[in-house]
Subunit: 194 residues, 2 copies
Amino acid sequence: MNATAASLLGLLDLGGGDLTAGELVRVAEQRIGSFWTLTRSQVHRELAALERDGHVEPGPAGPRDARPVRLTARGRAAYREWLTERLPAETTRVPVLLAVALGAVLEPQALRDVLERSAAGHRDRLAAYRALDAQLAALPGGEPWARATLAYGVHHEEAVLRWFATLPEHVRPPDAGTPRPRAEPPAEGPERQA
Amino acid sequence: MNATAASLLGLLDLGGGDLTAGELVRVAEQRIGSFWTLTRSQVHRELAALERDGHVEPGPAGPRDARPVRLTARGRAAYREWLTERLPAETTRVPVLLAVALGAVLEPQALRDVLERSAAGHRDRLAAYRALDAQLAALPGGEPWARATLAYGVHHEEAVLRWFATLPEHVRPPDAGTPRPRAEPPAEGPERQA
DNA sequence: AAGGCCATGTAACAAGTTACATGATTAA
DNA sequence: TTAATCATGTAACTTGTTACATGGCCTT
């Protein structure tokens, strides 16, 4: 049982019915978006292993050789055990930090350009998360868990943007704000949309 | 040129002199810590490729078959080009978010345990970052770039801890604080755009 | 001087990414 | 009916991880 396999079983559990590889990819994208990458190739490979181990069983075949799978009781127990007992720590690679760590040997202007592009991406993502959250909030059930997941993204992006503002002035990207002032009314509403 | 190779060249540049694979791993751990994972196996593999491509050249051999390498002019240009022109976006897998996304089908108690353990890890890391930052601040040069890197970690961990406090009460880990009162800790971000 | 310890390099394995061939659906 | 498009599965490749054998270093 690995992280990818466990996540697939969990999504099957959440989905309720039979899902194909493509559907799983879509559900993952929708449910955990940019915080849990999954490619179709991975899904196919893991699904094959999961079926071999009895964690999923094939459902009725669909068009295009699409093979929906269904979670088995064994599979449900396996992923839950993994989730509660073997959940690994978060691992990250933050490319922009590499640039910052090398700040002593880089041209300030080059570093500043890198930071500016990175900051723009974070601003865009923050805006996208907020927009999506507004959509979810309007839905009947309120989608509390999807919104909780999104909230992580919002908190993270806000934190990163605040961090940009703390960088030395000669490399700080424009529009990153300034280190100190956190008093003024933050423009909560519609910002420059991506 | 890939991210791992580029980071090795950058660290060689920063280090100044000849470094062995093991030294590179140590420098990476010290400089970008938990935001840039590197294993010795990767370093050996990449170093072989880098030497083949003329990005590094072998220095005087040391004990235990240790083979220090030195950055070449070609290597310096290559990693800088990558850093400023091809820096990839951040990719993350946040296991705890998987649990949250599956909140609808998990036992609340199980989810709460998972969250509590995750929160504990984040608290520990935040404390460690702060302690390390205090050490760096006391150093002669002040280590501005190392501290800037660390600051990212501090901001990130603070944000995650704040996020925990926003989760539904019946799964919120103890010691996570409460959603509303944001008196003391860094508050709503001043991510002013324009 | 000897034995445990630790760092080195190597190799096998697992996971993630990219590119491609095929077949179904849709629109003209 | 035909052509374009899109989703599917497969394969090849790259990157990351884990486990292991060896040899210098340090302590006793």
